[in-house]
């Protein structure tokens, strides 16, 4: 009897601890959002999305160039990160030797853990020093390199989920192996692959450190990829460390917009993957 009561107490205790842990997981996101809305919502207005930054002292202005710059950087980074990441993931899942793939997987996992500022420094050496200047290209290269291992691993996982019966069925029709992989396997796994790409984009969209030594930032419009370009995280960074209240407000607003964008990308991923269980994978 006594034993039974002690067990009940332990069970209740375990439940409480797990509940508190669950709350602690959710709390930071809620706190961040609350904080950003309180400090930044008032500065998110039409001008914020349409105007260039104003000089110190002049009120108003916005981050239009940084918002567009961020999208341009992500687009250029995608040109590097998506093809190499997806093809690398397919290679891991479909080709290669056990030992070679083990090494590749290990390297990709290590790269996923490399601090993002390291990417900035590496690309500074690779693409900034040789061309004697900061550029959108360099920033995109840093972000694209970060995307490769992320996309590679998620692509590998979803491609491995495709049942072998489909590969066999296609090969038994006399369809060449590469066509089987492109038209049957990758098509079946396409939702998972897209999810991996979106998550990688969401991850690098908020990166500041890799852009500090590469894209550098810009207070004006720039659509020339060989010149420095503005990005939202960079703009937030430079505003946040400034001594001006007006710039601080802009930084809060930028952070709010950035977080909302990333939040929406994650929601999009949920929507894309929602009916996945109804399908085969």
């Amino acid at each position: 009897m006594n034993n039974h009561r002690w067990r009940k107490i332990k069970s209740a205790l375990a439940s409480v601890i797990s509940f508190v842990s669950a709350v602690l997981v959710i709390a930071p996101l809620a706190l961040i959002f609350f904080h950003l809305i309180r400090n930044g919502a008032s500065s998110v207005n039409w001008a914020f999305f349409t105007e260039l930054p104003k000089p110190v002292g002049a009120a108003g202005g916005g981050m239009a160039n940084a918002i567009v710059g961020s999208f341009e950087l992500l687009g250029l980074a995608s040109l590097i990160g998506i093809p190499i990441g997806v093809l690398g993931g397919v290679y891991l899942a479909e080709y290669g030797t056990t030992r070679g793939n083990w090494a590749l997987r290990f390297i990709a996992d290590v790269l996923n853990g490399v601090p993002s500022i390291t990417w900035g420094v590496v690309v500074y050496g690779l693409a900034v020093l040789p061309f004697k200047g900061f550029s959108a290209f360099a920033g995109a290269l840093a972000l694209g390199l970060m995307m490769i291992p992320l996309i590679m691993r998620t692509t590998e996982e979803v491609v491995l989920l495709v049942p072998n019966g489909y590969r066999e069925a296609a090969l038994a029709l006399g369809i060449a192996r590469w066509k089987t992989i492109v038209h049957i396997v990758m098509k079946t796994a396409s939702k998972g692959i897209i999810t991996g790409i979106l998550l990688a984009l969401a991850r690098v969209a908020g990166e500041t450190a890799p852009l500090l030594f590469t894209a550098f930032g810009n207070r004006f419009w720039n659509h020339d990829p060989t010149q420095p370009i503005a990005a939202v995280p960079l703009q937030i960074f430079s505003y946040a460390i400034s001594p001006y209240d007006d710039w601080h407000r802009q930084a809060w607003a930028g952070a709010l917009v950035l977080l909302t964008t990333i939040f929406l990308i994650n929601v999009a991923v949920r929507v894309v993957t929602r009916d996945r269980t109804a399908r085969v994978i």
Partner: protein, 279 residues
């Protein structure tokens, strides 16, 4: 290149003319001449020293208890077993007189001539019924829409599925019932007009009615194709096949006319198996 040229190109295979001139009558020359075939998975020998002639325009059933190597043997006939790493083949398989395993033979071409239907129906989940049927043609270069539509109808008619799906060709292949899915897979296999159909327990996952339909279909397809079917269902072997081969622990024990093998088996082990004493 015109579509007509492409069409002839993907049909252009040795043996094609021979077949049409031979018509539906059983040919004296065997489809497969298997000589001293042994197959290893790593160190394990799955098939030991099998010699057999599989006749053309006949249904040949392969029976035997689980693990006797009948699926392995079947998958060797169109080189599908090569997808398993560390397999090794010794001996010879001649298909219409050509060595299937000569260094110059492309397994992709082999599989276009020797189609396969699997135990578990596996229509491609991203494709409609029509797309499933013509995927083999399309990915081998046939683009002409009119031709593709013709071939879809022909294949679906031959697999006795046309009347059930003709108004739903754009619905997903996965929306069909289990038995219909299996007939769709047969349609997909015959759409590329192979010379042989290998069937690996095609009805074992189906209910009796769907099984009956598949068996009717096999008897119908016999007129145009050489069929080799693996089955663990002996009644099915007697219902659909002309000849039956009994495999046991990787060896071919007996091969004869189906009626004779089941009524007067020569080997004791065959008799024991078909009378249900083991297996």
């Amino acid at each position: 290149m015109t579509t007509a040229q492409v069409a002839t190109e993907i049909q252009l295979r040795p043996g094609e003319d021979e077949r049409s001139s031979a018509g539906a009558a059983p040919d004296s020359k065997p489809a497969f001449e298997v000589r001293n075939l042994s197959i290893w998975y790593g160190q394990k020998e799955a098939i030991h020293d099998v010699t057999i002639d599989i006749p053309r325009h006949n249904v040949t059933a392969i029976i035997g208890p689980s693990g006797c190597g009948k699926s392995t043997f079947l998958r060797c006939l169109n080189r599908m077993h090569e997808l398993v790493p560390n397999t090794r083949v010794e001996g010879k398989i001649l298909f219409q007189g050509e060595d299937l395993y000569s260094p110059g033979t492309d397994p992709t071409i082999v599989r276009r001539r020797i189609g396969m239907v699997f135990q578990k129906s596996n229509p491609f989940p991203t494709m409609s019924i029509e797309e499933n049927v013509i995927v083999g043609l399309r990915l081998n270069g046939l683009r002409n829409r009119r031709l593709l539509a013709e071939r879809t109808e022909k294949a679906l008619r031959m697999s006795a599925l046309w009347d059930e799906v003709k108004n739903d060709l754009h619905k997903p292949g996965m929306s069909l019932s289990g038995g219909q899915q299996q007939r769709l897979c047969i349609a997909r296999a015959i759409a590329i007009e192979p010379e042989v159909l290998l069937m690996d327990e095609p009805a074992s996952a189906l209910d009796p009615i769907a099984t009956m339909k598949i068996e009717e279909l096999i008897r119908e397809l016999r007129k145009n194709y050489t069929i080799v079917i693996v089955t663990h269902n002996m009644q099915q072997a007697t219902r659909v096949s002309d000849k039956t081969a009994f495999f046991y622990v990787g060896q071919l024990i007996e091969f004869d006319e189906t009626t004779r093998l089941f009524s007067h088996p020569k080997e004791k082990r065959t008799e024991d198996y078909i009378t249900g004493r083991f297996g």
